[in-house]
Every structure is written in structure tokens, then in C-alpha cells.
């Protein structure tokens, strides 16, 4: 049987608050579990010790259990009266203050004015009539037009003078050129063309000569460089061959020495064997 009561059941058993059947069950369980029994005995001891705490003697103090005393407050101290009274008093103070400082509030559509003291009327200055303004604009425009007109006239005069001057100087130059051209004959033209052809021919010759000399120099340099390169290559090849030949010679010498050693050892071995025999 794996019955194991929980703490609640055990404590109820300790205080005798269990049903008789349940109580018997616990007693059986405690009989079978001495450890649990010891624990219950300890708890029981704690209970016994607790019972040593005695009650304090005390006499009930006089507690007044009557209706709570309501102190009748005058109506002006009641909340429902005090708040409107406060608002009214504030308004009154505001009005008196406004009267003393001469506060004036004016409201017109789109404008609120708050002022203090006496009202000062604004000084009305005589203003211009519409006609006067029109005349002033008209006279200003007219004077501007006159100034502009004078300026334009002056500019125009200067421009005309400059054009005239240029025309005079250019026409005299053109006239001179036309005269020179017309004075030149067909022979002179031929001579001029012939001279021009000769000049061109000479220029071409010079150019060709110059370019052939350059090419010649370049090819010469190229050939020299190539021969130098070949010579260098040949030298390196020879050095390489020389090194290989040297190595072959060394190997041959080594081989020779080894062969000699082997032969010497063979000879000495045969000599000793013959002596023994």
C-alpha cells in the first residue's frame, strides 16, 4: 500500500479534524512510518510549547460607538456655496481693478483691442485724392519717357557715326585690292603658279630625304642591337656548354677513382686469399 497523506491531511489529523475512518488510516500509516511519526511528535511538541504563551489581561477601553459627530458648519463654509462665492469674488476684484486702471476692451470683426487709461484719438492727416495720385503717376511716367527718348536718340547718333566710319575705311582697302588684282597680267600669274610648284617640289624632296635618313639610322641601330644580342646569347651558350663539359670531366674523374679503389680492393682480397691457401 503506497498511501502517503499530504501535509494538509497530517495537520488536520494533528488537530483532530479528520473523519474517524481517515484518522485510522493515518494512524496505520504512522505506525508503518516511524520517521513520519517522529515528525508528527515534534509538531505536537511545538504545539504544546505554544500553549505556554498566555493571554494578556486587558479591559476594553471605552470605544464610543454612537453616531459620528457631525459638526454643523455654516452654509457659507459648505462646498456648494464656497465655489460660486469664490468665482463671484474674483469677478468683482477683476471689475474693480479694471475700473481703476481704466481697462477698455473693444471688439470689431477681426480685431480685439485691450487698452488702459483714456482713449487717445488718432490724428487724421490729410490724404491725397485719387485724381492727385493719378496725376502724379502720369507726370512721372511722362518724365521717364522723355529721359528714355533722349537717351535713345544719343545712342542712335553714335551708332550711325561708327558705321559710317567703318564703311569708309573698309571700302578704301577693298578698292586697293581690286586695283592690284586687275593690274596683274596672265604671265605674272603663270610665274607665280610656277614658283609655287617649285617651292612645293622642293619641300617634298626635303621631306623625303629627311625621312629616308631617319629610317636608315633606325635600321642601322636595329642591326647593331641585334648583332649585340646574338653575340651575348652565344657567349652565354658557350659558358653553359663549358660548365657541362667541366661537370662531365669531374664525373669521369670520380668514376675513375672509384673504379681504381674497387680494383685495388679486389686485388688485395685475391692476394690475401691466395696467401691463406
Amino acid at each position: 500500500m503506497n498511501y502517503k497523506p499530504d501535509e494538509a491531511t497530517l495537520i488536520a489529523y494533528l488537530y483532530g479534524e479528520l473523519e474517524p475512518a481517515e484518522q485510522l488510516k493515518i494512524e496505520e500509516y504512522l505506525q508503518k512510518n516511524p520517521e513520519e511519526k517522529k515528525r508528527m511528535e515534534d509538531l505536537s511538541f511545538a504545539r504544546t510549547v505554544l500553549s505556554s504563551v498566555q493571554d494578556k489581561e486587558v479591559i476594553a477601553p471605552p470605544i464610543i460607538l454612537g453616531e459620528e459627530l457631525k459638526v454643523k458648519t455654516p452654509f457659507w463654509k459648505e462646498n456648494y456655496f464656497r465655489m460660486p462665492l469664490g468665482i463671484a469674488a474674483s469677478l468683482l476684484i477683476f471689475l474693480i481693478a479694471a475700473k481703476l486702471v481704466g481697462l477698455s476692451l473693444t471688439y470689431t470683426p477681426g480685431e480685439v483691442k485691450i487698452g488702459f487709461g483714456e482713449k487717445v484719438k488718432p490724428v487724421q492727416e490729410p490724404s491725397l485724392t485719387e485724381q492727385q495720385v493719378g496725376e502724379m503717376i502720369h507726370s512721372t511716367v511722362a518724365s521717364n519717357n522723355e529721359i528714355l527718348k533722349a537717351s535713345w536718340m544719343e545712342d542712335r547718333k553714335l551708332l550711325e557715326q561708327s558705321i559710317q566710319k567703318n564703311l569708309n575705311s573698309n571700302s578704301s582697302k577693298i578698292d586697293k585690292l581690286m586695283q592690284t588684282a586687275s593690274a596683274a597680267s596672265q604671265e605674272q600669274v603663270k610665274q607665280f603658279v610656277g614658283q609655287m610648284q617649285n617651292d612645293n617640289l622642293k619641300l617634298m624632296k626635303d621631306y623625303m630625304q629627311l625621312s629616308s635618313t631617319g629610317q636608315k639610322e633606325y635600321i642601322e641601330n636595329l642591326l647593331v642591337d641585334f648583332s649585340k644580342y646574338l653575340q651575348e646569347q652565344r657567349k652565354q651558350d658557350l659558358q653553359f656548354l663549358q660548365a657541362r663539359v667541366n661537370r662531365v670531366e669531374q664525373n669521369t674523374d670520380l668514376f675513375k677513382q672509384e673504379t681504381e679503389q674497387i680494383l685495388t680492393s679486389l686485388i688485395s682480397t685475391t692476394g690475401t686469399n691466395q696467401k691463406r691457401n
Partner: protein, 200 residues
């Protein structure tokens, strides 16, 4: 008991005399519950007075007269917790600094009655009582409430559960662990069956 029920019914109907009588009947119990909870006379007085003022204000709402006891202890526990919170926030007085020896300045109605017993035995009994009270103070608040209600107020687990608004199993569990903790505290203080046997 019938007499008590009648008192409760009358008090609920607003009978001041019945209410006064209830205070008279229950004051010692509530004071002792509070005293064991605080181990402090002034705090116990304060909590007791508040409990009965609250009882007076709310007794009209008590539905079932048979539940008066658990209802009254609910008020008492709440007053004690409130008082404890107030004291903790004040931090002016430590519970352990205040022994019960400060009764000298108490009012005449608070003075304990003298007993016609052997003074030496009374003294020893008082010392033991104080020692155990100190042990009780080492329990947690929840365990202390349950242990006091069960051990000193003789309430059933069902009543305690009702007063504390907890399940019966929770109350039993708190009681079990409370007693276990108390046993350990007693052992630490070398209070065993052998050392204390002669006192009990």
C-alpha cells in the same frame, strides 16, 4: 451561544447597547490576537480599536450572524496588516526593540490583572511566554496569522480559511509549515522537551 447570536442580530439592527456588549465580549480576544501578531502593546491596542470601529461601521452589512467570528477576524487581520505596513513605512520602532515591559505608562483599564499564584512561577512563566512570543515573531506574517488563529483563538480550519479568504488546504499547509518552522526555531534556541519539561 444563542445569547451571542441575539447580540449580533441586535447590533446589526443598530442597537448601540448590543454593539457595546459585543466589544466587551470580543475585545480581549481581538487584543490578544493583535498582541501575538505584533508582540507590541500599543500596536495591538491601535489595531483592536480600529477593528471595533470598523465592526460598528460595517455590522449592518453582515449577512449571516453565524459567520460573525470569522468576519470579525477578517477585520482584525486587515487592521493588523495595515498597522504593520504603517509601522514598517514609519521605521521609527522596531518590533523586537519593544518588549511588553513598557506597560508602566498604560491607562488604568489596560493594566493586567494580578494572579494569586506563586510569584516565582509567574515570573518563569512570563519569561517563557516572552521567549515563545519572540519565536512566533520569527514566523512569516502569513504563517503567524494562521498559527495564532488556530492555536490561541481555537478556530476551525474552515473558519480561518473564511477569515483569510483562502482555501482550507492552503490554511492547513501554512499551519504545517508554520509549526515545522517553529520547531526549528525552538531547536535553535535550545527549547526541547528535556529543557522545558519542568515548565509545562
Amino acid at each position: 451561544m444563542m445569547h451571542s447570536d441575539v447580540l449580533i442580530v441586535r447590533a446589526r439592527e443598530g442597537d448601540k447597547h448590543a454593539q457595546g456588549k459585543l466589544v466587551e465580549v470580543w475585545y480581549k480576544r481581538i487584543y490578544n490576537f493583535s498582541y501575538k501578531f505584533f508582540y507590541d502593546h500599543d500596536m495591538a491596542m491601535e489595531a483592536s480599536q480600529k477593528t471595533f470601529i470598523s465592526m460598528h461601521r460595517n455590522i449592518a452589512y453582515l449577512q449571516d450572524a453565524a459567520r460573525f467570528r470569522s468576519w470579525l477576524y477578517t477585520i482584525a487581520v486587515n487592521c493588523c496588516r495595515e498597522e504593520l505596513r504603517k509601522r514598517k513605512s514609519d521605521k521609527s520602532v522596531s518590533l523586537h526593540d519593544l518588549g511588553p515591559g513598557e506597560h508602566e505608562d498604560s491607562y488604568h483599564w489596560e493594566k493586567s490583572g494580578t494572579r494569586g499564584e506563586n510569584p516565582e512561577r509567574v515570573l518563569r512563566q512570563n519569561e517563557l511566554s516572552d521567549l515563545l512570543q519572540e519565536c512566533l515573531m520569527q514566523l512569516s506574517e502569513e504563517q503567524r496569522e494562521v498559527v495564532i488563529m488556530k492555536e490561541y483563538e481555537g478556530m476551525k480550519f474552515r473558519e480561518i480559511a473564511e477569515a483569510l479568504n483562502l482555501s482550507e488546504n492552503t490554511v492547513k499547509s501554512r499551519m504545517y509549515y508554520g509549526l515545522e518552522a517553529l520547531k526549528r526555531i525552538l531547536e535553535r534556541r535550545k527549547i526541547t522537551q528535556e529543557t522545558i519539561g519542568y515548565e509545562l
